[in-house]
């Protein structure tokens, strides 16, 4: 025997079907008119965005300079360069920014996989979590609160992701002497060369060091990396293949820098004992 609830909702759906049959309007032309107007608006907006993208690009619209809606294209991909900013398309900013909130190594998995997976499972489960027949919003307080929270958090995360600043290599280079002084490696030329590489190679687009840097993607603060005394050999093998040493690390390989440069970087990291 079906339960009372099942009988009741079947009855309500049956009644809905009869109501619509008796007093509904045909899809064509009534609903179709609204749909057509809306579709025209959508196509117009897309056309408008394409035109604005092209015609606000400075110069003859052939450059890699950014217009109102960003660059037409960036410089060609070069796996050899390392001074890059890993930045996804705007609709992934909320995920991108989650990785700033959760810190490497303990909770970063929550940001990369945990929360997105939970969100997806919850989304799929909504019709089974909320089995009441009530559809009027004012009588669904949990739904109201949940939707406000979701919209707020997605909005804030997207905004934060959009306004997150990346440090520029040239500005960071000027900080090398002060780093050397604070960390006490001023008389170690290899460490200073490593610090310059560190500033130029985009490390601070994700990592932080003595208060500067991006803190992206859950990358840890490296100010006191040397205090762990892992050794230069470890640092070099980590830079060559981060995921091999630290399983689950999203950091890309820096093997392209070459052994000599990696030694400098590793010396710098080992000389970073936390500063004064």
């Amino acid at each position: 025997m079906p339960s009372d609830r099942l009988v009741e909702r079947r009855r309500v759906f049956q009644q809905y079907k009869e109501d619509v049959k008796d007093r509904g309007k045909p899809f064509y032309p009534y609903a179709m008119f609204h749909d057509t107007v809306m579709s025209l608006v959508v196509v117009t907006v897309i056309l408008g965005l394409a035109i604005i993208w092209k015609y606000t690009t400075p110069g003859n619209h052939h450059t890699t300079a950014a217009g109102w809606l960003g660059k037409l294209y960036d410089k060609p991909a070069d796996p050899g360069t390392i001074n890059f900013v890993p930045r996804p398309d705007w609709y992934f900013y909320f995920l991108f920014y989650l990785l700033r909130i959760f810190k490497w190594p303990h909770s970063v998995i929550l940001g990369t996989i945990g929360i997105p997976t939970i969100a997806l499972v919850l989304l799929l489960a909504i019709p089974f979590l909320d089995v009441r027949a009530e559809r009027r919003l004012l009588r669904r307080p949990v739904a109201i609160v949940a939707s406000i929270l979701v919209v707020l958090s997605m909005g804030v995360l997207t905004y934060k992701g959009a306004t997150a600043k990346e440090a520029l290599g040239t500005e960071l280079l000027a900080k090398v002497p002060s780093w050397a002084k604070k960390q006490g490696f001023s008389n170690n030329p290899t460490a200073i060369a490593g610090a310059r590489l560190f500033a130029e190679s985009g490390c601070l687009n994700c990592h932080t060091y003595l208060g500067t840097g991006g803190h992206n993607l859950g990358a840890p603060n490296l100010s006191a990396e040397g205090a762990k005394n892992k050794g230069i050999a470890f640092q070099i093998s980590h830079l060559k293949c981060p995921a091999c040493v630290n399983s689950g690390s999203p950091m890309p390989s820096f093997a392209g820098l070459g052994q000599a440069n990696l030694t400098k970087l590793a010396t710098f990291l080992e000389a970073s004992k936390g500063g004064k």
Binding site: V41, V42, I46, A50, L69, Y73, D74, I126, P127
Partner: protein, 270 residues
């Protein structure tokens, strides 16, 4: 017996209807289209309920502009010996700067993606707030979530294709993040890259996923989604006075909002 002479207008009508009748007799398609067009929808549906078809329009714009872009785009990361630029990158600048209206088609595809994703989220929000995912439409909600996930997958795989710095490094990190997932992560990362690292096979692989695998899945899912919309009917807004808008287990309220206002429907046993 002589056949009755047809008037000119009857002749015309027969000529027009003949191919339709031919098609209908062999496929039933004409009846299907008629059913689709003249099916009843609740009289009080409103503008919020056009968001789904708006998202469909954005998807069709993506499909059309994508087909045109595929005529010019080359998913090849090797360096052209003459220009010293990657072939893929060069084909994108060629589309943007040289091909007639190429900038417009590429711009529509690039921004259409954003519009499609916004509209999918808005449509999902509307369905949630209207409670339209409830019995018997649970399955259509699930299909909708799969469409949203596939749409985001299109965004992720499409982002690499211009093969510029932004695209390349965002994807390197994106794949590394996929690789951190427990159990399936490393396999997913390897599948996406076509190897342990990003290599010459990665770009064609992303291209194939972006324009064959996921779009195929999207067409099938959208087809199912629309089939269920037509089969189960469009929900009326939750504030509707029709039966479909009210909760059956609530006690009937005295202000008339939860009951059926039409006396004819009331007689039917509410």
């Amino acid at each position: 017996m002589a056949t009755r002479r047809l008037t000119r207008s009857q002749q015309l009508q027969q000529t027009i209807l003949y191919p339709l009748d031919w098609l209908e007799e062999r496929s039933g398609l004409v009846g299907g289209v008629k059913y689709f067009l003249f099916r009843k929808v609740p009289g009080d549906i409103n503008w919020f309920q056009t968001l789904g078809s708006a998202a469909l329009t954005a998807f069709l714009v993506q499909a059309l502009t994508g087909v045109i872009l595929a005529m010019y785009y080359k998913p090849d990361p090797t360096i052209d010996p003459v220009t010293h630029l990657p072939v893929a990158y060069q084909s994108v600048t060629h589309i943007t700067n040289d091909v007639f209206a190429g900038w417009l088609v590429r711009g529509m595809h690039r921004w259409g993606a954003s519009v499609f994703i916004i509209l999918m989220f808005l449509h999902m929000g509307r369905v949630f707030l209207f409670g339209a995912y409830k019995y018997p439409r649970e399955l259509n909600w699930i299909i909708g979530v799969l469409i949203l996930a596939s749409g985001l997958g299109e965004g992720f795989t499409g982002y690499l294709l211009p093969w510029d710095q932004t695209a390349y490094w965002a994807t390197v990190v994106g794949i590394n993040i996929n690789g951190t997932a427990p159990f399936l992560g490393p396999f997913l990362a390897q599948f996406l890259q076509g190897g342990t690292y990003i290599n010459a096979d990665t770009l064609p692989r992303f291209y194939s996923i972006h324009m064959l695998l996921i779009p195929g899945a999207l067409f099938a899912l959208i087809g199912l989604h629309l089939y269920l919309v037509v089969r189960l009917g469009v929900t009326s807004p939750p504030w509707s006075k029709e039966a479909a808008g009210t909760g059956p287990l609530e006690p009937p309220s005295q202000n008339g909002r939860s009951g059926l206002v039409s006396p004819r429907a009331r007689r039917r046993g509410r």
